[in-house]
Symmetry: D3
Subunit: 229 residues, 6 copies
């Protein structure tokens, strides 16, 4: 039995502008069901995506302070989380936790907990790392739109090399560089990374286009990129 | 000083598919500010709209039970409510109430309360009527996309007549007929209507395309259609 | 294993004016225990009754708005729900949920959830239908004081015929007629009925004077009246 | 401006078995309004009464543990509190606080807070003393069914003497004796008394049959019995 | 299978001024794990201790009302409770309940519930007795710093005799005497004692210096002092 | 009228190991009262300090995951916040908010809101910046134990220069360097800094040893170091 925190966001959830990738969501839900039926325990953190943009753009035009834009983004992730909960139905904790304390209450029921973001000034990657640390997870799997983490942004550098493994410090360094570059190849955020590091979490990035990858990783296959805390 | 509950939804909030009518929202917020500065008290109930559709369609394809579709629709109304709160900022109660009890707590602060829907199986019109009754409102103003209520659906019947005034029973009858017709000229819902009736609330329908109408109604002008409970 | 939502109210709970039918409540609790021990899952929705009247009459004399009368009625149903919870003790979720979200949290524990009403403007029948839909119940059993649903109010019409089966639309029609008649043969409410219809729920009315009927229905016997969504 | 905590229970709320004393409640509400309009601040703690008995008797027959009987009694006090809130409407905090923390939140709104009991194992007298201490009240007025506190139970002892003033220690002693006597002349409870003592609260007992007494006490008249912490 | 409520406080938690007895806490946690793995059910109530003193002294110098000192003391017990929860991790309900209702919610998950105090004016002994009564516990074990309860304070009276067994009434009497003596040999409080009495709870005092005593008591050994409700 | 967020932590709260600086706290509370009486609006964010260390050390020895250490640290800040609330009594919101949403509810009452930390993985500096942004504060004043911010850690570098003014980017750079140095001259954290930057907040560092500095800053005097977002 393994405890797995699964994180995914917009690149997995949406096909194109405002069109949810329903087939993909179905596959992920089936994968979670498979893990659950095999005796594994799963918690899910769902990120934002294109839905949020329409709203945040409006918020921007309306001149709102950034806190509210963050809150609107968080609410969007919760709507995505609800889609997953409704698909898992009674295997899942039926509510989206709205604070870290509610995550604790939800985990205490033994159900599959599906959460979105929690509050302004914090990414869903940080939430995922915190949930993994709090819950004592064996694996934190981050579904992205690339097969591996690269040492540089592959969209900008031709010589970017895919990595099989790296340390949390190396990940922090890659993330730091990204801050200074406009390409916004946002893998993970700094706070999340520091939690991975302080608790030596096992974080694995894999391509979310094939949710079967999750099962392979849980079975111990070496796919994607492993970050060892 | 008057106590006013203001209700509006998708027809006022959106310009077209997924494009929020930011200018309209701004005008409504200015109107609320004007009322507030003149010493009136305002509570706002915001409905759903096109945002919800993308999500609910996905929910439908994913085979979710209707309760979850209702919950997703409620969450969408809350995102709209947040846009209004962020615009009013410290004049408003900063949270969107998530239950009827939270509406009571919010009203107790004396701030402008902005709420969306509350729970499955209940429309935002019913919520608006309940808030008006609970709070002892003088006026419940419903912004729609027509100037008046018609005795029949004007999209279907050429001889539909605009009404200046009607009773809650007459409104109930108009609504009942709509149930049997596919045109979906959804003015108000039955539960909301019964609350208007039982407490003799003063409900006024007016065209939301000109938010100044709100000020005129508060000043006692006879525009739109008045329902006397 | 079946998932059963059990609904009952005043006609089952009270013997006469302000005298609770303790023996009946005991029988119902034993029945729930039997179902539970046989591996079935049960949720319970408890309605109001004579207790509420004393309070609501006082509320009326005190000139309260109807919302408060509804709230007082809801609180009365919660006191009834507590009586059932205290009887089931640790098999039950120990609190009475106070909002639809709390029902979700309660169901997530896997315990027997016992709820009363939720908020003004909504009947416990509507709550029962929502819980059945949300939870994916196989059966929604409504204990009443008659053996069958009649096509008309049997207190008013001698030729009223008992029905073995009817559709949700037929039930809606029966309910609609009742609205116009003073006899107040209140079977179920419109909102509840529409939820039964939209989700094709299996709703069964049976006489609560013999709680063993519940077991018979769960075992597949044809007693009472079946409404097929 | 004075801060006043007003406590009353069954002897004031009920005329006879299950008949609420609506006129008395009205008079008390008018008195609270008068105090409020004169610039005083009021918090109200409402106790139980005959309503609770029907329920608790049933609970007893059903064999419930005492905690649940206490919870049922607390819920009854909350229904009484709601009657007062609905009468004060928007001058009052619209909810009955369900924990001591919620009392803090309610007091923070500046509205008239009306609470019932809080939890098992604690009387509404203790709650009233705690609220008075927490809030820094000038006066804690306890409406009873006698004009004065007696040095012994006047129902049992012919030579019982009415007291104008006593210390918290003397009150404790009177209460201690009552414990050993079956007459149940329950003035106040020990925990409440210890709070009055430790914080030197000004507690005044007066006859609730004339709510005007409250105004007289606030104006400094010497009626009833004063306990000086 | 037995249901056990375990209560301990400062004398067990601290080695000396501000130095937590980490080894002792570890032993207690191991004992709870042993009970849990043997199929017993455990709930834990943790009291205050030296940590609280620094804070309450400051509160005193700052001139705070006693309610706040109680609240600060309660918060200290919650910090102690968190230390136990973090040690039990996923066997425990992950939050410290903040009201009696939250204890009900926590117990409903089936996890080991660890709570501190609940509110001002109430000791953790009273909380422990209420939890034992509410939950239907077979045993309420109170870890103290003496092997037995004495008929008088052994620090003050040379002829104090250790007791193997006593009734709740006898315990009440011992406690009452203590009130009048400055030695503060605080065994248990009056409210807790009355709950033990009214529900005939089985309360056992034992020395917390050897947490193995807990296992012996659960196995039926006669150590410590038994109070039979 | 200005809106001021005041942040202070351990260096201001404690005199020495486990001895609270009660005089300092009194002075700060008086300053807050002065600002309040002059019509300014104040919110307060209180950090941790030496109290937390005893507990976190124990947590460390007990082998807890870091999330729990963070939670224990957050609870310690809340105890500090309670000391401030109890000193301000009815001018303050009486509870310490436990989530960002509760901060919104607290701010909506118009009272002085005093909060500690909110959740694991987030500093009280980040909380202070978020509160300032959310609330639209004119000033975010951070009380430290130095008169000015230095361009390098003055404990390590003799040539460290005090700064009157700097940009958020410059502050970020100073903070980044600190990460790599063991001296732990922790001014502010990165997340807080990014919020200051994105919303162009006015953040002022000043020496907390003289709380009168706060009044001088509000009056427009140039003391301490100003960060312009």
């Amino acid at each position: 039995m393994k405890k797995i925190v699964l994180k995914f966001g917009g690149s997995v959830l949406y096909k194109e502008e405002m069109v949810l990738n329903v087939e993909r969501i179905k596959e992920i839900v089936e994968t979670i069901n498979t893990l659950h039926d095999a005796g594994h325990k799963v918690a899910v953190v769902v990120g934002g995506g294109k839905l949020a943009r329409v709203i945040i753009q409006a918020s921007d035009v309306l001149g709102h302070v950034s806190t509210f834009k963050d809150i609107l983004a968080v609410e969007s992730t919760r709507i995505h989380a609800l889609l997953v909960i409704a698909s898992l139905q009674n295997k899942a904790y039926l509510l989206v936790p709205r604070s870290f304390e509610e995550i604790g209450k939800a985990l205490s029921t033994g159900k599959i907990v599906v959460t979105g973001g929690l509050q302004p000034g914090q990414s869903t990657n940080a939430v995922a790392a915190l949930v993994a640390e709090y819950w004592g997870a064996d694996l934190l799997i981050n579904l992205t739109n690339v097969d591996k983490v690269y040492d540089k942004d592959p969209n900008l550098f031709e010589d970017a090399k895919p990595l099989d493994e790296l340390s949390a410090d190396e990940l922090l360094e890659i993330i730091s560089k990204q801050d200074e570059e406009p390409g916004k190849y946002a893998l993970f955020d700094r706070v999340g990374c520091e939690i991975v590091k302080r608790s030596n979490l096992r974080l694995i990035f894999t391509n979310g286009s094939d949710p079967k990858n999750i099962l392979r990783i849980v079975d111990g296959e070496n796919i994607g990129t492993v970050v060892n805390g």
